[in-house]
Assembly symmetry: C2
Homo-oligomer: 427 residues x 2
């Protein structure tokens, strides 16, 4: 079931794994106390990178696709977590309206993700129907899944205060659309229904630097609990906006920041005796797209690499984060592998490896050609085993992944509180 993992078996991450296992009850209690103060995102997925000497989240997705990549063995955990989530939000809920991305009509992988979510929420006790933002769909439209089943996409009906479908008035609206294209008017001002996640979790408003600022805070708190250096789990970052990279002064500013980040990382590598050449990633501050990501080991290479991007990709780099690169040294069958952890409410419900055979350890694996190896986090492997040597036990490794992914989820919770436009300010 568990693919053969080749990971550096020595170094700080094994110590971290050991410490995390030993501290398990304290860690779980710490999370429990944090969740007394903060509301977990309804669902999320976190991409991790394990460098052997460092383990860090690189992306926290609040509109996770890919639930179809979880193995069937993981789904009962998702159903149970969904039950717990619904009970807290709207215990009397009968109907759930799920709003997928527009590609639901044409992309059968994405459609399988939606089918999995429909299944999970039906089994958690909700009537689930799909309302599409695609305005070309004016009547209920059946779309076929690869397994021979089908789903029906229905046009949304908005009246003054509520959103629904024909003969379907939901108490909760679950959005599985990252709103990169902007907030659709039909989703605005829905004060009578629960809209999950909130609109400011969409990429129209969300910014990566705000997430990583929150993650830094969470990582520091957690590291204090564990008595360890937060750098081991926290990727450094800087943030720049108002850039016009066709302009020399913007490029200068970016190179200066990138160079400063590389210097910081080099110092840390030296401190830990890491024989690697650091790199940094320059990414748009909003959005999930992998096309505009540039990775450099020397700030001097930035102008050339950015010039090589298409015009659209360059334009996306007006607001950027410059992030410490974390190489991934896990391999599945000789291919680079990046663990992805799925969560619903406060619970880890599964995970898988994103695998890409043609990519290097310092490249983004979110690209065409990547494949998925579902990893049974949710089987016995989610539960740590004591008494095994650090670094050799998949279950223990996965437990650690679940902890770090939950730190990123907690950071998303802090982030959404800090960026909530409707938050009441007490002064």
């Amino acid at each position: 079931m568990v693919p053969h993992l080749i990971t550096a078996l020595t170094g700080p991450i094994n110590e971290l794994e050991q410490r995390i296992l030993e501290s398990m009850p304290a860690i779980e209690r710490w999370f429990r106390l944090e969740w007394m103060e903060h509301t977990p995102p309804f669902y999320s997925s976190v991409d991790l990178r394990n460098a052997g000497f460092k383990l860090a989240p690189v992306d926290t997705n609040l509109f996770p696709g890919g639930f179809n990549n979880l193995t069937p063995a993981m789904l009962p955990l998702a159903v149970q977590a969904a039950m717990a989530a619904i009970e807290k939000i709207c215990p009397e809920a009968k109907n759930l309206l799920l709003v997928p991305e527009n590609r639901a009509r044409t992309n059968s992988f994405y459609l399988s993700n939606i089918a999995t979510l429909v299944r999970v929420f039906s089994q958690a006790g909700l009537n689930v129907r799909l309302g599409t933002l695609d305005e070309t769909i004016a009547v209920p439209t059946q779309v076929d899944l690869p397994d021979g089943t089908h789903l029906t996409l229905e046009p949304l009906l908005r009246n003054r205060g509520r959103l629904g479908l024909k003969d379907f008035d939901p108490c909760t609206i679950l959005v599985n659309n990252d709103l990169s294209a902007g907030v659709p008017r039909v989703l605005e001002h829905l004060h009578e229904q629960y809209l999950l996640p909130p609109l400011h979790a969409g990429w129209t408003l969300r910014r990566k630097h705000q997430h990583f600022r929150a993650y830094e805070e969470v990582a520091k708190k957690f590291s204090k609990l564990m008595g360890m250096d937060p750098w081991l789990i926290n990727p450094g970052f800087a943030h720049l906006d108002g850039l016009d990279l066709t302009d020399g002064s913007s490029m200068d500013a970016l190179q200066t920041q990138a160079d400063a980040m590389l210097t910081k990382v080099r110092r840390k590598y030296k401190e830990y005796g890491i024989q690697e050449k650091p790199f940094v990633a320059v990414k748009p501050d909003a959005g999930t797209g992998g096309k505009s990501i540039v990775m450099v080991r020397d700030a001097k290479d930035l102008p050339e690499k950015i010039a090589a991007l298409g015009k659209d990709a360059q334009a996306a780099l007006s607001e950027v984060i410059i992030q410490e690169g974390v190489p991934t040294y896990e391999r599945v069958h000789d291919a680079m592998a990046e663990p992805v952890v799925y969560m619903m409410d406060r619970y880890v419900v599964g995970g898988f490896y994103r695998v890409h055979a043609d990519r290097g350890s310092d490249e983004s694996l979110k690209a065409p050609g990547s494949s998925f190896v579902p990893l049974a986090f949710a089987e016995s492997s989610q539960l740590p085993r004591f008494g095994e040597k650090p670094g050799v036990s998949a279950p223990n490794r996965f437990y650690m992944y679940g902890v770090i992914a939950r730190l990123a989820m907690l950071a998303a919770s802090y982030e959404l509180e800090a960026t909530d436009p409707d938050a009441e300010v007490y002064e």
Copy 2:
């Protein structure tokens, strides 16, 4: 993974399975609403019997042993459910005191159950230690498990208001001892700590007829939701106390009740065209012991069967329930099988088959010689599959078992409310 099941593939239970699957979101919502009004027992296990024409709970255990019979794949569900339970009861909890049965010292099967519970609650974020009621244990005593690990039993320390161990002050005390031997004084008047389950859930105070009265109410409600005859899931029962079965008039009263029950069941069998000879079980109204259970197809046989019991077993029959017998027609490898469903908080976390090769379909399987086939309820099999013919899909069968077991758990919740000696009465 799933043992080959031979069950009558026609008849009312397949219709019930079909209806339960079709109504899944409504059923889950119904449970959610019930749990808004009622508190689920902290943990429980329910023995079911599937006669093909009828499916019913025959025993609801509020101090479940046998968690070690759940497969490792099921444990993550238990951990998640434990997290949800703790969060509601005492979110700041750090320490959990688990009070096992006295046989923990000598019975390695039971000890493995305790080891599983320790593992589940540790992973849910608690420091778990074991406090024994066994007064011969005056110092921390290590007991060895078959897998080479060990547990430590410690003497309980009671001060005025609190129960704990040396240097261990728990917020919650979890009892895994059914208190058949009476309520120990150290467990009384613990008003500062959470004592789970409450003392009146122990067999000193608990009575089966109160449970089945509550189950009857639950079964009627549920059957109304489903538009079906409650008899399909509800075993009839009657209750007699103050019996002295060495006395002729007590025996007469018992025979009259048994005969009345047999007549009722016969009528129902006729209504459904069931070609079986009904039987009834006479059981002590308190306790779990299988030794005093007598099964008869004719009330005339009662005196002889009861006379054949030992003196102690006869004495246990001073308060009895006379329960409609539900035969079990499930087989695992030609042996009689009885599904047992485990729950924690409101969630089904697993189950297994209790199998006994030497017993008949109308006998109790809770006897020496029974073995266990862990059934992966918690794997994909816990989640129903649509579009499969009723009666042939293990996952669908298990979903139905989970529903009926949860009805019994809900009945236990009603029962504990009705029998709570500390309940405030509003008039």
